[in-house]
């Protein structure tokens, strides 16, 4: 199964990234209200509302994985993974800027994220098919 068109494939990457980041923020939104070893943190102890939220988060995550499979059918991993690692930045910004998280912004956290995003790009790079070349190939064969 191939996704047609570079623009639609790029928007699938964006969709997948935003959905998985949202899912992670939903997970934290629910779990931040529980203590690690309290009985409430064991799944049956979750309130119905929290359980539904977690299931919604898992559903969002599943949809993002599905979108991701279609992305991989169209783009090389060396192009797609570095873009997906933008979700580290999205989750960070959400946790720092959104009112219900109140997590602290610090320069060392930002430096750590930049190192990680750069590292993921290096790990996914494939010298046989550079991202640029791959994108050009797809455009030519569309």
């Amino acid at each position: 199964m191939k996704v047609r068109g570079t623009a639609s494939a790029l928007s699938l990457i964006a969709l997948s990234t935003v959905l998985s980041s949202t899912a992670q923020l939903v997970f934290r939104f629910v779990m931040q209200h529980y203590e690690l070893f309290s009985t409430a943190a064991i799944l049956p102890g979750l309130s119905t509302a929290d359980l539904l939220l977690l299931l919604a988060g898992i559903a969002l995550y599943a949809i993002s994985m599905l979108a991701w499979v279609f992305v991989l059918s169209r783009f090389d991993v060396s192009f797609a993974y570095p873009l997906m690692s933008i979700s580290y930045l999205l989750v960070f910004l959400g946790a720092v800027k959104l009112p219900f998280f109140n997590e602290a912004l610090s320069s060392s956290k930002l430096v750590a994220i930049v190192l990680i995003v750069a590292g993921v790009a290096m790990l996914s790079y494939d010298e046989k098919t550079s991202a640029r070349k791959k994108l050009d190939n797809y455009r030519a064969n569309r």
């Binding site: 690690l36 989750v91 997590e103 602290a104 190192l115 990680i116 750069a118 790009a121 290096m122 790990l123």
Partner: protein, 117 residues
């Protein structure tokens, strides 16, 4: 304890990825989506990867009770490092100089994150 749960999550993700790669060999030549799904359901590697993904979700949710997600989530990128090392050890995949550099960058970033949170 929280860091232990976080690292367990990383290991579950990485081992799950390697098992899925092993299971994907069964898909070669499957004529239909149905046949591919049956081949996966029969694969021990695939079943084990599903168990590990579920276990990873539980340890991840437990981690999030005690750790800010702005610090914890980027550390999950260590799974790329472990996956690269496991692929080299178990699947005899090549790790290029650039990938070693990537391993160094991700490890440095994750260590900095854990050290300052």
């Amino acid at each position: 304890m929280t860091y232990l749960l976080l690292l367990l999550t990383v290991l579950c993700i990485a081992a799950g990825q390697v098992l899925q790669k092993v299971a994907s060999a069964r898909l070669a030549g499957a004529p239909t989506i149905g046949a591919a799904a049956r081949a996966l359901a029969d694969s021990v590697a695939f079943r084990l990867s599903v168990v590990l993904m579920a276990a990873g979700l539980v340890t991840w949710l437990a981690t999030l009770t005690a750790m800010e997600i702005s610090s914890a989530y980027p550390v999950l990128s260590l799974s790329f490092v472990i996956t690269a090392l496991l692929s080299r050890l178990l699947l005899q995949e090549r790790v290029t100089v650039l990938r070693w550099a990537g391993i160094l960058f991700v490890s440095a970033g994750a260590t900095l994150m854990l050290a300052t949170s």
